[in-house]
Symmetry: C2
Subunit: 237 residues, 2 copies
DNA sequence: AAGGAATGTTAGGTGTGCTAACTAATGACC
DNA sequence: GGTCATTAGTTAGCACACCTAACATTCCTT
């Protein structure tokens, strides 16, 4: 039994994290490079993307949370967008709150900044379809795990949506069902940012998640790997 | 035939990218929060991590590249580390170049900043072993794709190492071989930052990559036929 | 009407990150 | 040897990112 690498390897979760960090790093630095040509900064560009998905406008606090920055930082960035004529402040429901909406110039620029990460999408496209689906599924799981721990803002993902019906169809390629669209779909269609998302009650989320993960393991076809790949001894490599 | 979601979905590569970006975002904002308590900033913390892996020291330019920042930015951050007594400048091979090494205080702090992304590692650990391995493999592929396009600095990954022998063993769990350690290993052991990495010649990289991706897709029993390639291969069991 | 919570903003400070311009050492070429 | 281009790192000057603390409003509760 050659378990040498099990003994001398850093835990796989740490190496995965390191890979995610590397990709995050290059996304950051790319955003800076793209920023110069587009006339907006990375934070502003990201905010434009968020607003593009919210035609009804977004509150300042919501933007700050989604961007992972403090309210003052968001406030200043948004003021800059307004000054540049890319966004406008409209009164919200309250008199204290404001709702930010894009101007037409802002929409045009948002469509450009959206393309910043295309270089990464191209790299992802070098994977075959099954691998992309597995990657998406894994990312959804990781993000969901972060979300239940409140370590990431709540995302508009299928797996927490009240319209999500995991594994209700026999078709292995499209086993899930969306009750909103009323159509079957598969892992490769999972969304992270669905406009029609509606957060399901906690208990319903739990049930769906159980079904999603359990069934998913079986349909994976990798049951053999599951049994054999068990504990590893943490050790720096 | 229900292909509705194929028609109304954003390309999967874009959704994957968006997921990666979300994770990158939370890593960033976490680093800022951790920064305050540790007494170093995110960039400095990341640099400490790099230096921790390079006992022989690193040149300034190398740090800048790996961090995806410009030389001046790196220079100032490193000067701050030196001022704080966490790192020291030692003369490099050239009289113009410098080599940065950690002080013992720096090493201690580096071990702390290393734990910044543990929250993400915990989330990754909610995946089962097979999924983690698939995720790692997918990330390696993405990073490799970025690397051949020169969109990310060269990483010390197995898949570009001259000691890497993909799919030379029949054991499906440990089909690869590392000629440096002289031991078999599997996808779950793939490294992104191996201290013993030696960049293989381009043609050898190509060949290994071909074998790695092709065999990985099929994963039939034909790996046994390749066993002659390695020479003296430690037998399992 | 009097707290208290929620929403943004202002103030002040540090860190991030860039380009451009500079010094110094190296290496290549005649 | 002498010139020239390259490479390594620094300095200067600037704009943006990001924070905490303190503040004004508005809203909700009692």
């Amino acid at each position: 039994m050659t378990a040498i690498f099990d003994a001398i390897s850093e835990p796989i979760a740490k190496r995965v994290t390191s890979g995610l960090a590397k990709i995050g790093l290059v996304l950051r630095s790319r955003a800076w490079k793209g920023a110069g040509t587009a006339g907006v900064t990375p934070t502003q560009g990201h905010a434009l993307g968020l607003l593009r998905d919210a035609p009804d406008g977004m509150r300042l606090g919501a933007i700050a949370k989604l961007l992972g920055i403090s309210a003052p930082t968001a406030s200043e960035a948004m003021n800059t967008l307004v000054t540049k004529g890319l966004a406008a402040k409209t009164p919200g429901l309250d008199k204290r709150s404001i709702s930010l909406v894009l101007t037409s110039e802002g929409e045009a620029l948002a469509d450009q900044t959206r393309e910043w990460p295309d270089f990464l999408a191209d790299a992802v496209d070098t994977l075959d379809a099954a691998e992309q689906a597995a990657l998406l599924r894994a990312l959804v799981k990781v993000i969901r795990a972060l979300q239940v721990r409140d370590e990431i803002p709540h995302q508009r993902m299928c797996v927490t949506c009240e319209h999500f019906r995991p594994f209700v169809h026999a078709d292995k390629l499209n086993p899930h069902h969306c009750a909103y669209v009323d159509a079957a779909f598969g892992d490769r269609h999972l969304r992270l940012n669905c406009p029609e998302h509606a957060e399901a009650p906690a208990s319903a989320q739990e049930d769906a998640w159980e079904r999603f993960t359990e069934q998913g393991r079986v349909s994976d076809g990798s049951a053999a790997a599951n049994e054999a790949v068990v504990g590893h001894v943490p050790r720096q490599g």
